[in-house]
C-alpha cells in the first residue's frame, strides 16, 4: 500500500477501510454470516377452527389457524450466523415462532419489508439508477444515468444531467433500471441470530401459528324409509388458504373453543403500486367535478391473510377427498383428531378425511313453535327438529365436533334433502337437537281471547309527592290453534316465554316445565287440528300522577 495521500479525506477513508478489514478478520459481532436452513424434512400441521359455534368453513375467508411444526437440518459455521427459514406459511404470527435444537439464540427476527415496485424505488432514493426512455417512433432506448430525488406522495422525481424531471409525466415511456434488489425479499422472512464457538450440524424444529386455515365437521345423515333411524357419516373438511403447501405432513385437527387474544398487529408491507402522480393535469376540455370527501382507509389494520385473500385469486378450487378415518385423542380439554397417515396439505386446497360412520342411530322428529309473552294475532309455521342422544344406546357415544349437518331421505331411488342444520360441539351423553327449519304444513295461530284487569285488588305505593306506583293483576286468556297438513300424526311442542313473575294458572292440556320454560307436548292428528287454551297471570305496574 504505497498511497500518496494528499487530502484529509483520503486518510479518513483509509482508516475506515483498515477498520473494516480488521473487523472482517476478527469476526466481531454485527457481521453475521447468512445461513439458509434446509428444506423441511418432517412437517406436522394441526388445524384449529375459527371461533364460531357451528357451520361449514368459508373458503373465501378462512378464519381459523394452524400450528405448523417442521424439522430442518442446518449447518452452522463457527461464529455468528443469521439462520433464515424459507417457505413458512404467509399467515405466520411471528411472535408465536418457537425454534428448538439450536445453540443459544441471540434474537429472532421477522422482516416484513417486501420487494415491490414501490419499495424498490423507496430504497433507491438518493442512490444512482439508470433511466430508460424509449423513443416510440424509432424504438431506440435511451439510457441516462441519474439519481432518484424523491418518491414522496406517490410521485417520483429524478435528476439527470439535463435537470430534474418527474417520472412518466411527459407521456413518454420511461422506467428505471436498478442494479440490485436492495436486500428486499419476496416474502416475509423469519430468521434467528445464533452464535457458536465451533461448526455444528443441528436438527432444528420450528413451530409457529399461522392464519389462513380452517376446518369443520360435515355430517351427512341418511334417514331410513320409516324415519325412525338414520345412518350418520361425517367428514373432517380442512382447508389451507396459504400460498405455501405442506407435503407429506402429519395432519391433525383440534375441536373445541380456544381462547385467542386479538388486537396484536404485526407490521405488514402492502406492496403499494407506484402511482407516478404528477402535477395537476387538467385540460381545457375537462368539466369541473364537485368536491367530495373520502374516508381514510384502514388497510393498515388488515391482517396479512385478509390482504392476501383480497389480492389473491379465488382460493381452494381443488377439493381432495381421502378414504382414511381420523383417530381421536384427548388433548387437555380439547379433542384432537389425527389423520393416521401422512397427507399433503397443499396450498389453496380443501381436503376431506372421514371422521365417523354410525349406522341405525334412532331418531325422533318433533315440531316446535315458540310463543312470546301474550301473543295475539300471531301466525307462524312450526320448526322441524331432529332429536337423538349422543350415547351408546343411540349408536353414538363419541364427541361430535361442531360443523354442519345435511339430512337426506330416500324417495324411491332419488335422494331428497330433508333439511340442514348447524351443529355445535357435543360431548358424550348430550342431547342432540338439530333444527331443520320451518315447515309450512304445521301452522300455529295464537289469539288473545280476553284480558281481565283486577282493579279490585289494585295496590298503590306512594313514591314521591304527587307520584305513585299502581300495581294491578292482569290475566290474559290465550287460544292457540295448531293445524297439521300432513297425512300422518305428528309430535308437537308449544314452548312459552313468559315475562318475569308471570305464570300459567290454568290450561286445558297438560303443561310441563322443561329447562325453565312452560311447554305443552301434543300429538296433532293427521290432517287435523288441536286447540289449546290457557290463562296467564302477572302483575303490571304503572306510574300514576295525582
Amino acid at each position: 500500500m504505497r498511497h500518496a495521500c494528499g487530502s484529509v479525506h483520503c486518510i479518513i477513508a483509509m482508516l475506515a477501510w483498515v477498520q473494516s478489514a480488521t473487523a472482517a478478520l476478527s469476526d466481531v459481532p454485527g457481521t453475521p454470516v447468512d445461513v439458509l436452513a434446509g428444506a423441511p424434512t418432517d412437517v406436522s400441521v394441526t388445524v384449529y377452527r375459527a371461533p364460531r359455534s357451528g357451520g361449514s368453513i368459508d373458503l373465501d375467508e378462512l378464519q381459523g389457524f394452524a400450528l405448523v411444526s417442521e424439522t430442518r437440518t442446518v449447518h452452522i459455521p463457527a461464529g455468528e450466523s443469521r439462520l433464515r427459514f424459507d417457505g413458512v406459511a404467509d399467515g405466520i404470527e411471528p411472535a408465536s415462532a418457537i425454534v428448538t435444537g439450536l445453540p443459544p439464540i441471540i434474537e429472532k427476527n421477522r422482516d416484513a419489508e417486501l420487494l415491490s415496485p414501490a419499495a424498490l424505488v423507496a430504497a433507491a432514493v438518493g442512490k444512482p439508477v439508470v433511466l430508460l426512455r424509449t423513443n416510440k417512433k424509432t424504438g431506440v432506448v435511451e439510457q441516462l444515468r441519474g439519481t432518484i430525488k424523491s418518491d414522496a406522495g406517490g410521485g417520483v422525481l429524478y435528476e439527470t444531467a439535463d435537470g430534474i424531471e418527474a417520472l412518466r409525466c411527459s407521456g413518454l415511456p420511461e422506467t428505471f433500471s436498478f442494479s440490485s434488489v436492495m436486500g428486499l425479499a419476496a416474502t416475509p422472512s423469519l430468521s434467528v441470530l445464533v452464535r457458536t464457538p465451533r461448526e455444528v450440524t443441528a436438527t432444528v424444529t420450528l413451530s409457529y401459528l399461522s392464519g389462513g386455515f380452517d376446518w369443520a365437521a360435515d355430517y351427512v345423515a341418511m334417514l331410513a324409509p320409516d324415519s325412525s333411524t338414520m345412518d350418520l357419516g361425517a367428514w373432517v373438511t380442512l382447508a389451507n388458504g396459504n400460498g405455501v403447501g405442506f407435503p407429506a405432513a402429519h395432519t391433525q385437527v383440534v375441536a373445541g373453543r380456544l381462547n385467542r387474544e386479538t388486537g396484536v398487529y404485526e407490521p405488514v408491507e402492502h406492496g403499494m403500486t407506484i402511482l407516478a402522480s404528477c402535477w395537476p393535469r387538467g385540460s381545457t376540455s375537462d368539466t369541473p367535478m364537485p368536491a367530495y370527501l373520502v374516508r381514510a382507509d384502514d388497510a393498515a389494520r388488515m391482517s396479512m391473510p385478509m390482504m392476501k385473500a383480497m389480492l389473491a385469486p379465488a382460493p381452494a378450487a381443488e377439493v381432495v377427498v381421502t378414504a382414511q378415518r381420523v383417530q381421536q385423542e384427548q388433548l387437555g380439554d380439547l379433542k384432537l383428531y389425527r389423520v393416521p397417515e401422512r397427507t399433503t396439505v397443499a396450498s389453496r386446497q380443501s381436503k376431506q378425511v372421514r371422521l365417523l360412520d354410525q349406522s341405525a342411530v334412532p331418531v325422533t322428529f318433533v315440531y316446535r313453535a315458540d310463543l312470546f309473552d301474550a301473543a295475539d294475532g300471531v301466525s307462524l309455521a312450526a320448526n322441524l327438529l331432529l332429536r337423538t342422544k349422543n350415547d351408546a344406546a343411540h349408536h353414538l357415544g363419541l364427541p361430535l365436533p361442531s360443523g354442519h349437518a345435511a339430512i337426506f331421505a330416500s324417495d324411491g331411488d332419488a335422494r331428497v334433502l330433508v333439511g340442514e342444520s348447524d351443529v355445535r360441539d357435543l360431548a358424550l351423553d348430550e342431547d342432540v337437537e338439530w333444527d331443520l327449519g320451518s315447515r309450512a304444513d304445521v301452522q300455529v295461530t295464537a289469539v288473545k281471547e280476553r284480558t281481565n284487569i283486577d282493579t279490585a285488588h289494585a295496590k298503590v305505593l306512594p313514591l314521591v309527592p304527587g307520584v305513585s306506583l299502581r300495581s294491578v293483576g292482569v290475566s290474559d286468556g290465550e287460544r292457540i290453534e295448531i293445524t297439521n297438513g300432513r297425512s300422518s300424526d305428528i309430535q308437537f311442542e308449544l314452548r312459552l316465554q313468559l315475562p318475569d313473575g308471570a305464570g300459567v294458572v290454568r290450561a286445558d292440556h297438560a303443561l310441563v316445565t322443561k329447562n325453565g320454560r312452560p311447554l305443552f307436548s301434543l300429538t296433532i292428528p293427521a290432517n287435523g287440528a288441536v286447540t289449546v287454551r290457557y290463562q296467564v297471570e302477572h302483575t303490571a305496574n304503572r306510574l300514576i300522577r295525582h
Binding site: 483520503c10 421477522r110 431506440v140 410521485g155 435537470g163 424531471e165 396484536v264 402522480s277 318475569d500
Partner: protein, 467 residues
Amino acid sequence: MGMRGNCLGLVCCLAACTMTFAPHAPAADRSLSVTIYNDDLALIQDRRDIEVTGGKQRIEFQDVSAQIRPETVSLAAADLSIVEQNFDFDLLTPAKLMEKAVGQDITIVRVNPATGAETREQARVLATNGGVVLKIGQRIEVLRDDGLPVRVIFDKVPDNLRARPTLSVTVDSRRSGTRPATLSYLTPGLGWRADYVALYDEANNKIDVQGWVTLTNTSGTTYADAQTLLVAGSPTQVDGAPAQMGFRAQRARPALQSAGTESGNREQLGDYYLYPLAERTTIANLQTKQVSFLDVRGVPAEHGYEFRNAWLGTADQAQSAKSVYSFSTSAHAGLGDQLPAGIVRFYLRDKRGAPQFIGESRIDHTPMGSTLSLATGDAFDVKVRSTVEKRTRLATFDWQTDMRYELSNALPRPVVVTVLQGGLWGDARISAESQKSVRRSADVAEWQVSVPANGKASLTATFVTRY
C-alpha cells in the same frame, strides 16, 4: 497519478455514500440508543460526531425516525447553542415542485410523435390550479393539453422540499471542529410486549415457561446497531393516545388472582422495570424482533374449571366451562420474576409427545409473587346449563329466583368446577342453596361443585333480590 487517482476515487465514493445519509454526521461515528416503552412510544438517543464551523449554521438530520415528534427534539453538544429547530414536512413531489415553480422558468421538451425529434423551449409557469398553465414567448398554453408528449425539466429543487421529513437545527458554535453531539427525541411506531410459551405437563402438574420480548418497528426507519432498552410500564402521554385513562378496561375474567409483593433483581427506573438487550442490535423497519428474557422449568401449576353465569338467567343450551391454568410468579415455587404485559400461549403434549397449542391468554404487567389464573378456552367435555326454575314476585320490588345449574362431565375422571353467579348487585341474598357458597364479592357468589367421572351433578340456589 494512478494510485493517487484511485485513492481519490475511493474517497469520493465513501464520502458521497455517507454524505447522502447524513450530510453533517458520518455514520461510522454514530451510536444509537433506543428506549422502547409499551405503548407505541420510544426515546431515541442518537449520538454522533458532528463537524461544525464557528458561528451560525444549519445542521440537517435526515435519518431520524419518519414519525419523529419534532417538539420533543433536543440536541446537546459542547460549545454549541441552538438558535432554532425546524421540521420540514413539505415533501418533494412533482405537484409541489411545479407549484413552487409558479412565476419561474422551466424547460419544456416537445417530442414529435411522427419523427421523434425534440424541440426545446423555455416556459414560464403561470398557474397550477387543476392544470398547468404556461407562458411560452407571448403564447399562453396548457401543459400537455393535446395529450402529446412534453418533458418538463426543472433546474433545481427548492430548499425546503425533501424526499423525507427532515429535521434541521440552526446552531451557533463558539468554535469550529468535530465534536460529539446527542440528538434525542420521542417517536411512535416502536413498541414492545412480551410473548410467553407455557408448556404444561399434565402428568405432574408442572409448567415450563419461556418469555420473549417482542418488539416491532413500524416507524419507517431502521435503527442500526442500537443499544436497546425496554421499559415495562406506560408513561402518561399527553398528546397522542393517552396511555391509561385512569382506569383499566374491565375484562370478563381477571387473570390476576392475587397481586404479588416481592422484589426481584431486575433493574428498575422509578416504578418501571427495565429489560436491556444484552447486545447491540439492528431494528429494521417493519421488523418483529424477539429476544429471550425468561426460561423457567418445572414450576408447579394447577388446572381447573370455571363457569360464570353473568346474570340470573336461563341459557338455551349447556355452556362449556372455561379451562383454567393457574401458577405463581413468586421466587418460591413460581416463575420468580416480574412479568411484563403480553400474551401467554399454552401448549400440551399429544399422545405422540408433540406439543400442541391449546389456547392463549393476555396478562397485564404482573408483580413478582402474584398468582395468575389464565383461561385457555372452553372445555369440550365439562358443561353447565343454568336455568331459572321459577321467578316469583314477593312484593312490588322484591323477587325470588330459583336457579338450577346442571353440570355434566364427559371426562373419564372426576372434576371440580368453580361455579360463579354474577349479577347479584350486592343486595341479592341467597335464601337457600344445595351446597354452601362463598360470596366472592358483593356481585358474585361462588360454589365448588364436584362432578363425578362421566357423570352429572346439580346445584340449586334461591336468590332474593330487590330492585
